[in-house]
């Protein structure tokens, strides 16, 4: 373990990304994942620990035109209680309700949750449905540069993302879904929330005159990263949402998923769950639009 020689708590994005540009920095953003990972020896501190909590403007949820922006420091509680999100993206609010406990929701930031890149990350699934993009800020040529990257391209492996060491996760953005868009999120388990998902699944789309279009599906804990379930999407796109097609989608879900055996479930059970939960979520979509 290397020694921390510097602690920073910048108040502006400028200062933060400048510090990142200088290299070797561990970013602290809430800490609910960082603290236990450090204590368990799964990660090591860089020479600088930078707490980004004080950065102005990073904890806001805004809607500009059709684009919704959630700052990295926004807590899961703030998402859960956001009127704006409840109107624009209720599926995100529903997932926030299934996230851990009050105590964790109050501390965990959306930026931390996404950057932690857990294959089971609860907030990631609805954001994938919303075609979200990630905004990364860095200091280049004497100014802040930002780049946008699609969320589904953001993850590389468990705990690994494409974020470079000199980049700060600034926000997650998504466009307001089209009119008539409905989406549902579901994770099983005896506890409503305090459960690392054995699998989680979200499906959304526009259901008009019985036909399902703009279908988006995403799954957690069935692959090394949260994934878009492309086969499910293709199976359903442009077709009536009826029992036969729901059954077909359920089969596709099994094909999209490549789960592993771990302490929480066997791959066999995960495979079973994605199939039945696909049915459940699609039935929910049907019920809630009729």
């Amino acid at each position: 373990m290397s020694e921390i020689t510097n602690y920073l708590s910048p108040c502006s994005l400028d200062d933060a990304v400048r510090a990142l540009a200088d290299g070797d920095v561990t970013v602290l953003c809430g800490g609910t994942d960082l603290m236990p990972q450090m204590e368990a020896g799964q990660r090591e501190y860089a020479s600088t620990l930078m707490n980004i909590r004080r950065i102005e403007g990073l904890a806001e949820i805004t809607l500009t035109g059709d684009t919704c922006r959630i700052g990295a420091l926004t807590t899961v509680s703030e998402i859960l209680t956001s009127q704006l999100l409840d109107e624009v993206a209720p599926v995100l609010v529903a997932a926030a309700d299934q996230f851990a406990s009050d105590q964790l929701r109050n501390a965990a930031s959306i930026g931390g949750n996404i950057c932690n890149a857990s294959p089971a990350g609860d907030m990631i699934i609805p954001l994938l449905l919303l075609n979200a993009v990630v905004e990364l800020a860095s200091w280049q040529d004497g100014a802040i540069q930002t780049r946008l990257i699609s969320l589904h391209e953001f993850f590389k492996a468990p705990g690994k993302t494409v974020r470079q060491n000199n980049e700060l996760f600034a926000a997650v953005l998504f466009d307001k879904p089209p009119p008539g868009f409905v989406a549902h999120f579901c994770k099983p388990g005896p506890r409503p929330a305090l459960e690392i998902a054995t699998v989680s699944i979200g499906i959304g789309g526009v259901l008009e005159d019985g036909v399902f279009s703009d279908v988006r599906a995403a799954m957690g804990a069935v692959a090394p990263t949260p994934i878009r379930a492309r086969r499910v999407e293709t199976t359903l796109e442009g077709l009536p949402l009826n029992a036969d097609n729901i059954r077909a989608a359920s089969v596709s879900a099994g094909e999209d998923a490549t789960p592993i055996d771990d302490v929480r479930a066997s791959s066999w059970y995960r495979d079973h769950l994605v199939r039945v939960l696909t049915k459940e979520v699609l039935n929910d979509v049907l019920e809630n639009t009729n």
Binding site: P188, P190, W268, Y269, E280
Partner: protein
């Protein structure tokens, strides 16, 4: 108006069965209570243990040089420092190991000025291991070619227990129906919220004071002494408040002698406190077992015999835990009237974490089997399930084949109370008919019952409890007892009893029960014995004190003592309640008279029970009790989740003493039982625990807790205090089979192993469906182990 200032008469009231506040609750609610985990002594060092992290290995070499040289380190110990200091139930354990036999085995220990330095020092210890092939299940352990875990225990055989009664062959021949199943129960652990902790401190006369979480201080001295090469008399045990115990603190574990040995080596107090991960890996477990059980009955429903072959996973060392077959045997031979018994239990050493004692003590495991077989028989007989149970239920005055004397027996009342409260028979039929519907969610109702000792358990020569009681000049009573408080509420029970007898407020009773140098002998908090035995001891002491006071009052007031009573801080005339003298005043008069007397009494209560002998034929408890649970569940056949909607419990408690305390013990016991049945599972892979955290080891949380409907049957008990029986274990015991029976009712599928996890449920349902299709018999059922 204040009754006390103007009243001339005081009505007779009783505290027995009332809701009384737990004396330590206010401090616990404000964070003021200083748990052992919170204690810091001047000059105290922090001890940390290096665990092997492998299941079976020879230690080739250990180099502690770098650790010893680290600034802030005051002492390092390894196996060679404790050679020959064996401890444990069969003296097969030692505080620090030279051979590794399970993952958490203690290899070295460090005392340092801070926890950080101690942890860092552990990282500097170099150990070279030679890994050995391991044994990870009792089935594997007893194979002839199995690796031998200990040279001194051939065949990896640990403890063995057997009991036979009657002619099994004849009983089988006269049986019309025999059910024959293999049940498998799994590893779970206590999950005390306060992690394991000990603080050891030697004085300059060589006497050890150990601050401990033990729930059995006298045995603790006896068990700890050989691990230190000390005389038990030179050990003083102080018991600060603890964060739960549930049986886990009945044994001595290596971290405790390690704390003491480090304290001896450094000459300073040493505290060892586990992290949660260490707690999960090092804490004792409930014994996993494979139970081959057979039960027979005649066409008319009369039970004919029960046989049980039990194979237990002992783990790497033998604690008190592997004596659980003694309790298992009592259930096999006493749960309903079973005339012929064949019982055989063998514990096998494995390289798994080692088993300890855990609330329910073996009965949790056996009842999972007995109560399901009773359910199977009822169905195969096509008899009314309650009628079948009632006709086999033992009655007051009967004896079991092991000669357990059921002087009072309320099994029939427990059955009818629970069945009536839930309309059991009708609903069981209804749900059974809906079993084959296409519905995703299926409902089921299930019943289970068991028997447990409720008047102590005489596993030693003595099951007694010593009590001392003084009442001072201010009419404040102090009771000194060996019975420990571990959160279960004996403090409330005893305060209430003393207050009842002396007619003083409960708040005026102080309990001293946390110092082995002060308190007299007691056999510890276990076996649902404390209310019965320490409570009776307290009652008897209080009655003596009361008599002394009444006699003195009689002399002063010239009224016969028989006509006097103690109420609300006064001596009163019994019939009309008129005040004779204020109790405080009387006590001072007694003290300051020409022939002064103080109220200080002692009592030693030894329950009227017989020691458990080698033949297992004895009335080993002074009372027995039954409980019936009915579980109502909803099964999600898609995900396999079982939601428990409601638990209805009817339990023979003899008499309620502390009502809120009894309810709390019942509710908490049910929660632990639910975890066992559904969610808790120590996932071991070649002896290594894969889920040492609450995220993956799932204890029951508030949203999962079902609605509870508790019924206490109060038929009294001739020997217990005010007719009370012990009650804390049965609620944990009966849950899992009630749920398994409800699951069968809902789905027609039997699950014969714990836990009924979602994945296992889905597999069982799919397997049953396949069997169903292939046999084209719509009533076919499948059993899954």
């Amino acid at each position: 108006m204040n009754k006390k200032t103007i009243a001339t008469h005081i009505e007779k009231t009783t505290l027995i069965g009332q809701r009384v506040r737990k004396p330590d609750a206010a401090d616990k609610s404000t964070g003021k209570t200083r748990y052992i985990n919170d204690l810091v002594l001047p000059q105290m060092l922090y001890g940390k243990i290096l665990h092997a992290g492998r299941p079976h290995a020879q230690i080739v070499s250990i180099d502690t040089t770098a650790a010893e040289q680290l600034p802030g380190v005051h002492g390092v110990l390894t196996g060679k420092d404790v050679a020959g200091l064996k401890f444990g139930f069969v003296r097969d354990n030692v505080a620090l190991k030279e051979t590794v036999r399970c993952e958490h085995d203690e290899v070295a220990a460090v005392a340092a000025e801070t926890e950080e330095i101690a942890s860092q020092a552990l990282g500097l210890i170099k150990v070279e291991y030679k890994d050995l092939p391991g044994v990870f299940s009792p089935e594997d352990g007893r194979r002839e070619d199995a690796p031998l875990i200990r040279g001194d225990f051939p065949g990896n055989k640990s403890l063995h227990f057997a009991f036979e009664h009657g002619d099994l062959t004849a009983a089988e021949a006269e049986s019309d129906i025999i059910v024959d199943n293999v049940f498998k129960v799994h590893h779970v652990t206590h999950c005390c919220m306060g992690t394991s902790c000990a603080i050891a401190d030697f004085d300059n006369n060589g006497k050890l004071t150990i601050y401990s979480q033990t729930q059995y201080p006298y045995n603790y001295k006896m068990d700890l002494a050989p691990a230190l090469g000390m005389h038990p008399g030179d050990i003083r045990v102080i018991q600060p408040p603890v964060g739960g115990a549930f049986g886990s603190k009945l044994d001595v574990y290596p971290y405790e002698p390690i704390a003491a040995l480090l304290a001896k080596k450094t000459g300073r107090p040493v505290k060892v406190l586990y992290t949660r991960e260490e707690e999960f890996k090092s804490a004792p477990t409930r014994q996993p077992a494979v139970i081959h059980m057979r039960t027979g009955c005649k066409k008319d429903g009369t039970l004919t015999f029960r046989s049980a072959d039990v194979l237990l996973d002992n783990g790497a060392y033998t604690s008190w835990g592997p004596t659980i077959p003694v309790v298992m045997m009592r259930t096999v031979s006493g749960h309903y009237r079973v005339p012929v018994i064949a019982y055989n239990a063998q514990a096998i050493y494995t390289n798994n974490p080692y088993a300890g004692s855990f609330r329910g003590y073996g009965n949790v495991q056996t009842t999972f089997a007995t109560a399901q077989q009773i359910d199977m028989l009822a169905e195969q007989l096509d008899m009314d399930p309650i009628e079948f149970r009632l006709m086999n239920a033992q009655k007051p005055g009967e004896r079991t084949p092991q000669q357990a004397f059921l002087r009072e027996c309320a099994l029939d009342k427990c059955l009818t109370t629970a069945a009536d409260a839930t309309d059991f028979v009708t609903r069981q039929k209804e749900y059974g008919l809906l079993r084959n519907s296409d519905s995703r969610y299926k409902k089921g109702i299930g019943i289970a019952s068991s028997i447990h000792n409720a008047g102590g358990a005489k596993i030693h020569k003595s099951d007694g409890c010593g009590t001392m009681l003084k009442v001072d000049d201010y009419a404040r009573a102090t009771l000194i007892t060996g019975a420990s408080e571990i959160g279960q509420g004996i403090d409330t029970v005893i305060s209430l009893i003393v207050a009842e007898e002396l007619g003083i407020p409960v708040e005026h009773v102080t309990l001293m029960n946390n110092d082995s140098d002060l308190a007299p002998w007691d056999v510890g908090v276990h076996a649902s014995r404390t209310t019965f035995i320490a409570g009776e001891g307290a009652r008897r002491a209080a009655v003596k004190a009361r008599q002394q006071i009444l006699n003195a009052a009689s002399t002063f007031a010239e009224i016969s003592a028989d006509e006097l009573d103690l109420r609300d801080g006064f001596v009163v005339r019994d019939k009309e309640g008129s005040i004779v003298i204020k109790l405080e005043k009387l006590l001072r008069q007694m003290h300051f008279q020409p022939e002064p007397e103080l109220v200080m009494v002692t009592d030693y209560y030894e329950p009227n029970s017989e020691p458990e002998g080698a033949d297992h034929i004895s009335n080993m408890s002074a009372a027995y009790s039954h409980a019936v649970h009915i579980a109502e569940i909803t099964v999600d056949t898609w995900t396999g989740e079982i939601k428990v909607d409601k638990i209805t419990s009817a339990q023979d408690v003899g008499r309620v003493i502390s009502r809120a305390g009894l309810e709390g013990q019942t509710e908490g016991g049910i929660a632990i039982g639910l975890g066992y049945a559904l969610t808790e599972d120590m996932q071991l892979e070649d002896g290594m625990l894969k889920n040492p955290c609450f995220r993956d080891y799932k204890v029951i949380t508030a949203p999962e807790m079902p609605e509870l409907d508790l019924h206490f049957i109060e038929d009294g008990c001739a020997e217990g205090p005010y007719g009370a029986k012990g009650a804390a274990e049965l609620p944990t015991i009966v849950i899992a089979p009630a749920i398994a029976n409800a699951f069968y009712n809902a789905t027609g599928v039997r699950i014969l192993s714990t836990p009924l996890s979602p994945e296992k449920v889905v597999r069982a349902l799919i397997l049953a469906q396949q069997a169903d299709v292939s046999s084209s018999d719509s009533m076919a059922t499948a059993a899954v182990s």
